[in-house]
Symmetry: C2
DNA sequence: TTGACATAGTTAGCTAGCTAACTATAATGT
DNA sequence: ACATTATAGTTAGCTAGCTAACTATGTCAA
């Protein structure tokens, strides 16, 4: 996602609005600021995870596996739940398996299928990462009280509903 | 950025909170939802831009150039303003130059420097993209009234201030 | 004036996304 | 029973990020 270091000032936006009368300045500002804060958050999260040798994609796979009672899933299930292409999941699993955090177990009944299981090392990794992640996240959100959290989720829900505007037609 | 198709249910979060007592469930929900909506927005924006043969990185470079009175800048300035590494900018400019949307002009005075200029084709491209982008963005944000926009920006500002928690130490 | 440092840009090689095409296997319908 | 279709996973090649290292050029101080 774009970093947007340099958000447009009101003057710049006005200048653009002159050429492009469709521009809704307050909508643009709000939208870009939302993208910007989220991108920065994502980068900060990555920085936190990378101290443990993980990035978001690989970390999320471990979490998805830990959610399962059997600590086991399949590449296609994982790719759906993580919202990435199956091919991307292959790459993530290659890396995780290389580091010994998951293992591939070949299904003898359906030879197309592979089970992916969290290893003890993978669980140890989560036990190191999650407390760190949770306590930093808690600190990050400390300034936002319950009411504001609810409001934020509500407004994001509205944006979420309107999102189709970008892709329709 | 992670797609997070499958956000944790309250049950999953409680299960995790048992193992990791640092977990602040409402903070986690809000945080993940913010990341998720922003990621989806970013992907939707890309889908809109890709109909014009652009993606966020390349599109933002064109916008930065159009902001300049001379429609001209340098790779390092652009990389700072776009928040990407200089090396990344080299790649973006390669693509834009290949498509004829910008040109590299070598500075005769300081032979280390290169000027990047928006071409007529680049301006035409913006004139096609921006009205489409602005009107879709306006539709997307239509459900969020002025008050909610202000609130959203305010809350994001607080999150932004707390973000250092992820990177400190 | 020349040696050290600073700046501008590029290259190389990594991660992590994507789509499209491929292999292997299973399921299904005629 | 066999051809077709569907499913699971991987591979290959693309974009767009990154860091580190490199080249070339300028600047400045001893």
């Amino acid at each position: 996602m774009l970093q947007l270091r340099d958000l447009p000032s009101t003057e710049v936006l006005s200048k653009f609005a002159q050429r492009y009368p469709q521009a809704d300045i307050s909508a643009i500002s709000t939208f870009l600021y939302l993208l910007r804060v989220a991108t920065d958050l994502s980068a900060s999260l990555d920085e936190c995870l990378s101290r443990h040798g993980l990035l978001q994609g690989r970390w999320w796979v471990l979490i998805l596996l830990m959610r399962e009672d059997t600590q086991t899933s399949t590449p296609s299930e994982l790719s759906e739940k993580a919202g990435v292409a199956r091919a991307t999941m292959t790459g993530l699993l290659d890396g995780l398996a290389r580091d010994g955090l998951v293992t591939r177990i070949f299904d003898p009944n359906d030879r197309r299928r592979v089970s992916i299981q969290l290893t003890a090392m993978g669980q140890d990794k989560l036990d190191a990462v999650m407390p760190d992640y949770y306590s930093r996240l808690s600190d990050c959100m400390a300034g936002v009280d319950e009411a504001a959290r609810t409001q934020l989720q509500q407004i994001l829900g509205i944006v979420n509903k309107g999102m189709g505007a970008f892709t329709k037609d």
